[in-house]
């Protein structure tokens, strides 16, 4: 009768950092606070972005690196022909190809969004990314804590970091152990 495998061999999940309970976690430090943004709706749009903006967020320019987003729908620019739309209310769209020349992919569960605010925001973010935030960039995509992310602000002292959902635990753990 062979020996049973050690527990750590049977369950590799114990090697990984435990995912936070996104419904309740908050980090509170002297100069900044971090919390996940819950209930955010997301669509990934590729193709003719002008046509897509006309449909989802008329007269709203796409948001680049460190730019301040305004309005109820945030069209966050990923690349030349791709953006992530986020909104507190559901975004009505038919998934797939749109005749106006863009494709829509539901992405609500594909990302985790972490919001950081406070007077220490700028100093903290300068530790998280090499990007020159004052230089400006039409794309909000950059490396944050070494991971691909979208970085922008919603007001002067509040930033949002959107990372692919599996990376959310890592970025949160980075903030916890900073």
């Amino acid at each position: 009768m062979p020996e049973p495998l050690p527990k750590t061999m049977a369950d590799r999940g114990t090697f990984w950092t435990q995912a936070p309970d996104w419904r309740s976690v908050v980090l509170q430090y002297d100069s900044w606070t971090a919390r996940p943004v819950l209930g955010l709706h997301r669509l990934l749009v590729s193709g003719n972005l002008d046509a897509a903006l006309g449909m989802f967020a008329p007269a709203v320019p796409s948001i680049g690196l460190w730019q301040v987003a305004a309005g109820s729908v945030h069209p966050i620019r990923v690349g030349r022909d791709r953006m992530l739309l986020t909104a507190a209310k559901p975004l009505v769209a038919t998934p797939g190809w749109n005749a106006s020349g863009f494709a829509v992919s539901p992405a609500t569960d594909a990302y985790v969004t972490i919001e950081i605010s406070g007077p220490g925001l700028r100093a903290l973010v300068s530790e998280m990314t090499f990007a020159d935030l004052e230089e400006g960039s039409p794309s909000a995509a950059t490396l944050v804590c070494g991971q691909q992310a979208l970085l922008h602000r919603v007001d002067e002292q509040t930033a949002r970091i959107h990372v692919e959902a599996p990376l959310g635990t890592y970025v949160w753990h980075w903030l916890e152990t900073r």
Binding site: L65, V78, G79, R80, R82, F130, A131, D132, E135, G136, S137, P138, S139, A141, T142, L143, G146, Q148
Partner: protein, 88 residues
């Protein structure tokens, strides 16, 4: 640390970029008539010049593939330009 300039995003840290290919390499066609030696040469042989070179790079965070002209000795980047509408 070195800055590369993505044609779309502007200057970004080198860690955001990856080398993709030598510029000007043409896939041998038609495939059924390409010898194993020519196919291997296309896939694995790179000229790796000392000095000025033209390469295809990708900006990982935004997904832009672009042409970069740089010097492999001085590391000076002479030019970057998008691949759309041009030949590389």
């Amino acid at each position: 640390m070195q800055l590369f300039s993505c044609p779309f995003c502007g200057p970004r840290d080198e860690t955001e970029f990856l080398f993709a290919a030598e510029a000007g390499k043409v896939r041998p066609e038609p495939a059924p008539e390409v010898s194993a030696a020519d196919w291997s040469k296309y896939l694995h042989r790179v000229s790796n010049p000392r000095g000025a070179t033209r390469e295809i790079w990708v900006h990982q965070t935004c997904g832009e593939y672009f042409l970069m002209e740089r010097n492999t000795v001085s590391h000076v980047v002479a030019n970057t330009q998008p691949l759309r509408g041009g030949e590389a």
